[in-house]
């Protein structure tokens, strides 16, 4: 028996990396354009969960990981750690979004209109319908190739929930935070500020967010939301120019926002009955994640109807520590690392306990 086998072998590790690069991950020939436009939802999940808006790096990450979204998002997060922060952008307001799609399931007719936009919601998922069978999107409305220009001419499209808010029918939670918490610069101790929870969720893993929110929709909780406003579109990012002090638009990002409406509850402000709402937001187009986030936000901040005694979605402790894909996937995979020492210790304890109990 060779001693090298026990050591693991640095050479084997290096060979494994080459093997991966040369035989599993064969995406070198796929260009940025194909990945960014052809796999836009993968690209957006990577940017959102990787917490970095860069289509270029998202495409590169996809190529390097064989399209494993956990791994690809991880590349973006790791890259973030090398970048020094240069400042904070002006707050984004989702009502100023240039919407591409905007729907409300609460009202038939809403200010700004129901705009179905591009969506696969209405597609019949059958392979027998060929991609070329449906007529192309009117070329007259789409400027260049790819996504068409924006369908509404309005500068501002208020949320579908706004009409209820104006009539004082919505609970407006008191904001005790002077400025938003920043989870990427320090980590809060409980009780967690809402802004910190929102940030963690906004970069959370879509599947985890969906599963936790599904517990509340399905039975371990009471959130059966009505979607007050769900939109995808473009948001301008503005920055205060360091020399002139003026607001400057530095670019545009794709984003998704969702406001859902829950059941009514006694408003902590004055005890009157009003409707609870939750908000979800993420960069890129990802409606499932934004809806899930809005449900979790609502579940955590409007308690009181929970039945069954098992609370998952309502517990900030659960959401705060369990929705991040970089963390959970990393930890699940770390079990592949050697645990010889700890397992050895486990066995010794087992032997001793057996001696005791077998007596």
């Amino acid at each position: 028996m060779s001693y090298v086998a026990i050591k693991g072998g640095a050479d084997s590790i290096r060979a494994s990396k080459r093997f991966f690069r040369d035989s599993i991950c064969l995406a070198k020939g796929i260009g940025d354009d194909e990945l960014q436009k052809g796999l836009i939802f993968s690209c957006d999940r990577i940017m959102s969960e990787g917490a970095l808006y860069s289509e270029k790096l998202a495409a590169e990450a996809m190529r390097r990981t064989g399209g494993d979204l956990f791994e690809a998002a991880f590349y973006l997060r790791a890259h973030r750690s090398t970048c020094r922060r240069i400042g904070e952008a002006e707050p984004l307001n989702s009502s100023s979004m240039r919407v591409l799609r905007r729907i409300s399931s609460a009202f038939k007719d809403i200010e700004g209109g129901q705009i179905l936009g591009p969506s696969c919601d209405y597609v019949i998922r059958l392979f027998r319908v060929k991609i070329g069978d449906t007529p192309e999107f009117s070329a007259a409305r789409s400027g260049k190739s790819g996504l068409p220009p924006i369908l509404t001419g309005n500068d501002s499209t208020p949320s579908g929930v706004e009409c209820l808010r104006r009539r004082d029918q919505i609970i407006v939670l008191e904001n005790k935070e002077e400025k938003p918490f920043d989870v990427s610069r320090s980590f809060p101790l409980p009780p967690y500020p809402r802004s910190a929870l929102m940030q963690v969720m906004s970069r959370g893993e879509t599947g985890a967010m969906l599963a936790f929110s599904y517990t509340s929709m399905r039975g371990y909780g009471d959130v059966h939301p009505t979607i007050g406003d769900l939109r995808i579109g473009y948001l301008s990012v503005e920055f205060i120019h360091p020399f002139t002090g003026n607001k400057v638009k530095i670019g545009e990002i794709r984003a998704t926002a969702c406001e859902s409406i829950g059941s009514f509850n006694s408003d902590p402000k004055d005890g009157k009955l009003r409707l609870a709402t939750g908000f979800g937001f993420c960069i890129g187009f990802n409606e499932t994640k934004a809806i899930a986030m809005s449900i979790l936000d609502m579940a955590m901040h409007h308690k009181g109807y929970s039945i069954g005694g098992i609370d998952i979605a309502t517990n900030p402790e659960i959401i705060m520590h369990h929705v991040d894909g970089i963390e959970s996937s990393g930890f699940a995979n770390h079990f592949k690392l050697p645990h010889y020492v700890t397992f050895q210790a486990d066995l010794q304890v087992l032997e001793k306990a057996k001696e005791q109990t077998d007596e």
Partner: protein, 280 residues
Amino acid sequence: MNSTTFAFIDEDAKKEIRRSLLKAVALPGYIVPFASREMPVARGWGTGGLQITLSIILERDVLKVIDQGCDASVNAVNIRDFITEVTGVKETVNTSEASIIQTRHRIPEHEFAKDEKQILVFQVPTPEVLTTVEPDTAKQKQMHANSDYAKLWVLLYEDTSQYGDSRISNRYPVLINDHYVMDPSPIPKYDIPRMDNSPVLQLFGAGREKRIYAIPPYTSVKPLKFDDREFKVESFSGISCERCGAQNVFFDEVRRETGNHYFCSDTEYCDQHLEKSNAS
């Protein structure tokens, strides 16, 4: 990769981590939250230890990285390659030559220099010792503030009454400086007494859980145990390393059809011991 930053992480992040470290050293055993940047190795693969090492490392440092006591294990190789690539520091397998030793699951067998100049950086999966008995962070914090470790004592009592001893084989709870109870990271019980009154600065980083804590040199570290019970570490009596013949160290057990084989868990210790026995 951003090659302009020494040691990978941006300077603001390093500053934050160093501040957390200072607080941790000032309050031995106290868990300090920090933002925890993502590293290019996965969460759970030593990102906490890695961030500490990258924040404290200087050009003149000499680095040793081990995993399970071994310099050539997957995790150790990757982390060492990465750190030397982004810092250009000298690497070593020699414990006495290293100024920073990053480790997962073991403390090297060799004695450390008495001059307090060596730093031992532990990779930690579960920084909060109370997690086993209380998963809620808010309650954990309160329990530490009140020195309320009753639930740990109950666990120890229940295990002792049923199995004759605690079932905890690694990550054994330790009392630091007679104040906080702390998770020593998943080292075997064998290494616990070796933490006590040690001349090295022991730093602990949990990247995924975003926590840092520390034991300054020459601090008391005692395993949680009942007065009338002995703290039993793993026993390897009568066993010696098949390769170098060493005794009274922590062994890797290899099970084959031919029976159990034992080798030093600390491979560098094994190499040196072998060299010495060959020379004499």
